[in-house]
Point group: C2
């Protein structure tokens, strides 16, 4: 069975035709979102891109992973920081009308968790904590096989768990949320704040500071970079320890741009979480880098269909 | 239908015959646990107490809420700080053999959450976060109607979420767990540490410092007591804000000895959590003092049967 997965971002929409048996992406395309054209027009553009991509092929249904607060029952984007004009926008039904197919909508961090369950590091598992470390820190949790979305569908905000009340100001207005330490944005901020003290750090050899530059420099033994890496590890370890104590998961899967740092991040992180968890939790879980990489969005979106119809 | 609920504590075992229709406790009794006699003997004593309590009445099954790590499928107490000699102790099957009835075992903090769902402040709700503030801080979570126990049955350890990595040493070995701020033990410790600075505080008018004395003194305007109250509120607010962001619950129910402080604790707590949660979470939940009070243990234990057979 083929499914269309739509990874709806603020700048680009990535669309893929996915074979649900094995998660193979048969075809994919990408269009600009062009939010400024308005919701109706964005939906039309997505519909046209799907029609083009699937020309001559049949497909079963469409899953869309969207940032923001989603009314999943009705396929409505309640609101989204990425689409400031969308208030209770009926994304699902509008697209469904244009295509004549069932369309399922889910928050993008939740759909990342579903993608890992169906096609990634969570296959066969019913207890999954998933984190995406990107511009922000997104969370998705599957517990006892159920996606944890909560009573009004806005749960699993793992990035906004406070891990140090004396920590940096977070975009949400609180201090010391996980996001304020472990997002790419936070890492760049933490590096930039220390530029004066560490002017010779190779983090600053290019004008634009990036999280990737920080981890690359750490791999080269750069002092500031290693210090920043340790701070990110400590923050993530405190957060993940809490999630382990709460959900007792089989696996903690970390994706998003920052996760591509690889071993320089994951090795000390595994060690530190193992020190922090209570003895009974040791060896009950693994911490894994998302294997889906650049296909995580499309596969996650396609998984929404599988999870809902399961 | 009548159910026997057994609240197994380190010092006392409380047993009640519960009408499952309305949660009315028809009869109850209490015996000393006498852990020192060994597990087999403790089970015999419980069986005899149940036979005595239910003489002449029929009952359907038995639920036991026990401290420690429970293998709920098999009714086994893996281990428990309260019963140091019990390792993989088959509590359920031993009691079941003696009584000829089905016996269900669950962790006591989880059974507290179930008791609230079936008979307390969580009736009709599917998203409940429950905290017990006693000697330690216990947690129980019902999400999408399911008790969250995790992959090996040890989840929902809400008391051991780190809320301030620079906080006090917790019994678990970490620093700044919720339990290290909001348990009765922590409150007594925090008060005692400041006795030298506040020798005239009415907290110390009796030789034995208790959490109750702290909240009573706060109600009388005692300066140290109000300071301690504020610290407990801040810690609980940070923890609860995290649980709200994670579970998006309908209700956060707080029980255990400390909860009996009432408004002097709950009013500032509600205010502070409301300040800390992200705007989308405002008005999605209530924070409620457990209404079950001294019957919470028995009713929770009886609810295990209802939840499992439901």
């Amino acid at each position: 069975m083929n499914i269309v997965g739509v990874d709806l971002g603020g700048t680009y929409v990535k669309i893929g035709l996915v074979d649900s048996k094995n998660g193979k992406i048969l075809k994919k395309s990408s269009i600009e979102t062009k939010v400024e054209l308005g919701g109706q027009e964005v939906v039309k553009r997505i519909a046209n891109a799907i029609l083009e991509l699937t020309e001559g092929t049949d497909y079963h249904a469409v899953g869309i992973g969207s940032p923001g607060s989603i009314d999943k029952e009705n396929g409505i984007v309640r609101f989204s920081p990425n689409f400031p004009d969308w208030h209770n926008f009926p994304l699902g039904s509008l697209l469904s009308e244009l295509l004549g197919k069932n369309v399922y909508v889910e928050n993008d961090a939740n759909s990342f968790a579903l993608g890992e369950k169906w096609f990634g590091a969570g296959i066969g598992k019913n207890h999954i904590v998933a984190l995406t470390l990107g511009t922000g820190v997104g969370g998705g949790v599957i517990s006892h096989g159920t996606l944890i979305t909560g009573s009004t569908g806005i749960g699993a905000e793992l990035g906004h768990v406070i891990i140090n009340p004396n920590g940096p100001l977070c975009g949400c207005g609180n201090y010391g949320c996980l996001e304020s330490y472990a997002s790419a944005t936070a890492i760049v901020r933490m590096a930039t704040e220390r530029k004066k003290k560490f002017p010779d750090s190779i983090i600053f050899k290019n004008e634009k500071v990036t999280a990737k530059a920080v981890f690359d420099a750490a791999r080269d033994g750069d002092r500031l970079a290693l210090m920043l890496r340790d701070e990110v590890v400590e923050a993530l370890a405190i957060g993940i320890t809490g999630f382990v104590h709460i959900f007792n998961p089989e696996v903690v899967i970390i994706g998003g741009g920052v996760s591509r740092a690889g071993d320089i991040l994951f090795e000390p992180l595994r060690k530190r979480v193992n020190e922090l968890v209570m003895p009974t939790f040791k060896d009950t879980f693994e911490i894994i880098q998302s294997p889906l990489v650049e296909n995580a969005g499309i596969l996650g979106a396609a998984s929404i269909v599988l999870q809902r119809e399961n």
